[in-house]
């Protein structure tokens, strides 16, 4: 006899449960976690390095680097003298909550204020897998072109801030800034937006102020009231 079992179960529900536990661990330790997502080469590691360099005197920072196979990025962060955990995703195109848990287990959260996560370079997959962080930041970069919000709306929708990196090369590309901004604003009106260059340092102060504000707000709220990211 054939019978139908109604489920309506979210395929990634199990991931969300682990993500929630990760966030609880972070909240308990008072660590704000920010997840950086971008396409390959947009400047995730560059932004981490410059953020660490500028804010390390104010906050105890650590990095988590997701990478398909190498430890190049984590090594670069570790070379700055801050704790850095490498997660090799073994070919997977995104970090997931279980990988994040594994990274958290390798860190002494009690001695940290800020955790910056570099997701795997990809504009599709990371959006489906919550990690248990507090903030998602999407990094776009000028050479990628201005149409990305339209092509990857889910990534933009789940972002708490958008950084547009490599503005130093704007003149060399026909990047349509208004078109890009419209795409971001359509999905996320009023979203924090930071045009920067990790190379020249342009715009970085505004970005760092945003990070400071996030830490302050997180401490005031004691981790409460965040959407699961």
């Amino acid at each position: 006899m054939v019978r139908t079992v109604s489920l309506g179960e979210q395929i990634l529900g199990a991931n969300d449960e682990i993500a929630l536990a990760n966030r609880t661990a972070l909240n308990r330790a008072g660590v704000l976690a920010i997840n950086l997502m971008a396409s390959p080469g947009a400047g995730k590691t560059s932004l981490i390095l410059s953020t660490v360099a500028a804010l390390r005197a104010e906050y105890r920072i650590a990095g988590v680097d997701g990478d398909l196979a190498t430890s190049i990025d984590a090594d670069r962060v570790a070379a700055m003298g801050v704790p850095a955990v490498q997660i090799n995703t073994g070919g997977a195109c995104h970090l997931d909550a279980a990988m994040m848990r594994c990274a958290l287990e390798q860190l002494d959260l009690a001695v940290l204020d800020l955790l910056i996560v570099e997701n795997v370079g990809n504009l599709v997959c990371p959006s489906g897998f919550r990690l248990g962080v507090h903030r998602n930041v999407l990094i776009a970069s000028v050479p990628e072109g201005a149409d990305k919000p339209y092509k990857y709306p889910v990534m933009y929708l789940g972002a708490d801030a958008v950084v547009l990196n490599k503005v130093d090369v704007l003149d060399a590309f026909d990047f349509d800034m208004a078109y890009f901004r419209h795409g971001v604003e359509a999905l996320n009106p009023g979203l924090a937006f930071f045009p920067v260059s990790c190379k020249t340092g342009v715009g970085m102060e505004a970005w760092r102020d945003w990070v400071r504000q996030q830490v302050t707000a997180f401490r005031q709220a004691e981790g409460a009231g965040y959407e699961l990211r």
């Binding site: 109604s6 489920l7 395929i11 195109c93 997959c125 709306p153 604003e185």
Partner: protein, 111 residues
């Protein structure tokens, strides 16, 4: 993409809910177009990973949900034209994603 990993999740969920049944014969999966999940790829992995499980030989029925946006200004619902999110009705530029992000196992048939 990550179709192998999610296909394994689908199998886990199905097996967890198929207790008492000797066989899973059909699965109804709902997949929104914005997820980036390829139906063909899920099917490909499904046939491999279900071998020698209670779901071997089962039919994986994937219903795709197209992307629909709703204009934040006039409420008009429309499919994005692929180039902009502008509302074809009023030219509005704020949108809400109504459908396209679904990814769930709706039901299974067991015997």
């Amino acid at each position: 993409m990550h179709e192998l990993a999610v296909t394994q999740r689908i199998l886990e969920i199905a097996l967890r809910h198929a207790d008492g049944a000797s066989r899973i014969t059909k699965l109804n999966l709902i997949v929104g177009d914005l997820t980036g999940i390829l139906s063909e790829s899920v099917q490909f992995y499904w046939d491999i990973i279900t071998r020698e499980t209670r779901a071997e030989g089962s039919t994986l029925c994937v219903s795709r949900v197209p992307t629909r946006l709703r204009c934040g200004d006039c409420g008009h619902e429309f499919a994005p034209d692929g180039r902009t999110f502008d509302c074809p009705n009023c030219g509005g530029r704020r949108v809400i994603i109504m459908t396209g992000r679904e990814f769930r196992l709706e039901s299974i048939e067991v015997q």
